[in-house]
């Protein structure tokens, strides 16, 4: 089957955050933070290997991280890390069927029990904790 004939929404549809509430936003952020953290992790492994070049090599690497740009990148990484962790635990519990409600005869207007306030709170908590961690990280980095 030709992809065009399938009328798939594509990446644009997948990452569109406007139509399906905070759960879809969390799905997108989870993906982006996962990719971002993998990129950072690869970079981190590569950069820390500069210690093999001795004290001079290590000092050059540290200089790179102690710029405004370096601090900004680290703050974003901290935010991604906290969001990915907290939301990841929420998703993992959900995947096991924890906190997704109980089956019941549906009544109009058919509000889905799986999209409940517990999970919404989990998502908002992940976002808030990520923001707090970013601010704390910036305070530590600039406080010294």
């Amino acid at each position: 089957m030709e992809p065009k004939d399938e009328n798939k929404e594509g990446i644009g549809g997948m990452i569109n955050p406007r139509r399906y509430g905070i759960e879809r936003v969390a799905y997108i952020l989870m993906r982006l933070s996962g990719l971002g953290l993998l990129a950072y992790f690869i970079g981190h492994i590569y950069e820390t290997s500069s210690i093999l070049k001795g004290e001079v090599g290590w000092a050059e690497f540290l200089e790179l991280t102690q710029t405004n740009e370096g601090h900004a990148v680290l703050a974003i990484v901290i935010g991604m890390c906290v969001f990915h962790t907290v939301n990841g635990i929420r998703v993992m519990l959900g995947h096991g069927g924890v906190g997704v409600g109980r089956p019941a005869r549906p009544d109009y207007p058919y509000l889905p029990a799986s999209q409940n306030s517990r999970h919404k709170m989990g998502i908002y908590s992940a976002i808030v904790l990520a923001a707090i961690a970013m601010l704390y990280g910036l305070a530590v980095m600039y406080g010294e």
Binding site: I11, S49, W58, M92
Partner: protein, 118 residues
């Protein structure tokens, strides 16, 4: 190998590595806060960290856990983006190669510094 593994086994590994990594990365980050942040990153302190065997062992475990989790996550995203037998095989083996490469590269740093080869 990854093509023969059931997806449920792969995903259980994905969840397991995530949970274990959360605990160990927390220790790794807290170690930066035992002293002042800048002090903890000084050359002598970092070398001392690497040469403390339990810490070096923990770094190695974190390296393995995050490499498995990260590259499996990438595999999942790539499998969902495009389909096809050759493409999916390339993604699976490419991610395994990336994972092994990253573990090998990181392990080299950990072992060499731990053994005082700097």
């Amino acid at each position: 190998m990854v093509n023969k593994m059931r997806e449920s086994v792969i995903m259980k590994i994905h969840y397991g590595t995530a949970l274990a990594a959360v605990a160990l990365v927390a220790v790794h980050i807290l170690m930066r806060l035992t002293q002042s942040f800048a002090e903890s990153l000084e050359y002598e302190n970092v070398i001392a960290n690497y040469q403390f065997l339990p810490y070096a062992g923990m770094l190695e475990i974190i390296l393995i856990l995050l490499s498995i989790h990260g590259f499996n996550g990438l595999r999942v995203i790539l499998l969902e983006l495009k389909q096809g037998r050759a493409y999916e095989k390339a993604v699976s083996y490419g991610c395994i190669a990336g994972m092994i490469g990253l573990i090998a590269y990181g392990s080299r740093t950990i072992f060499m510094v731990n053994m005082g080869m700097v």
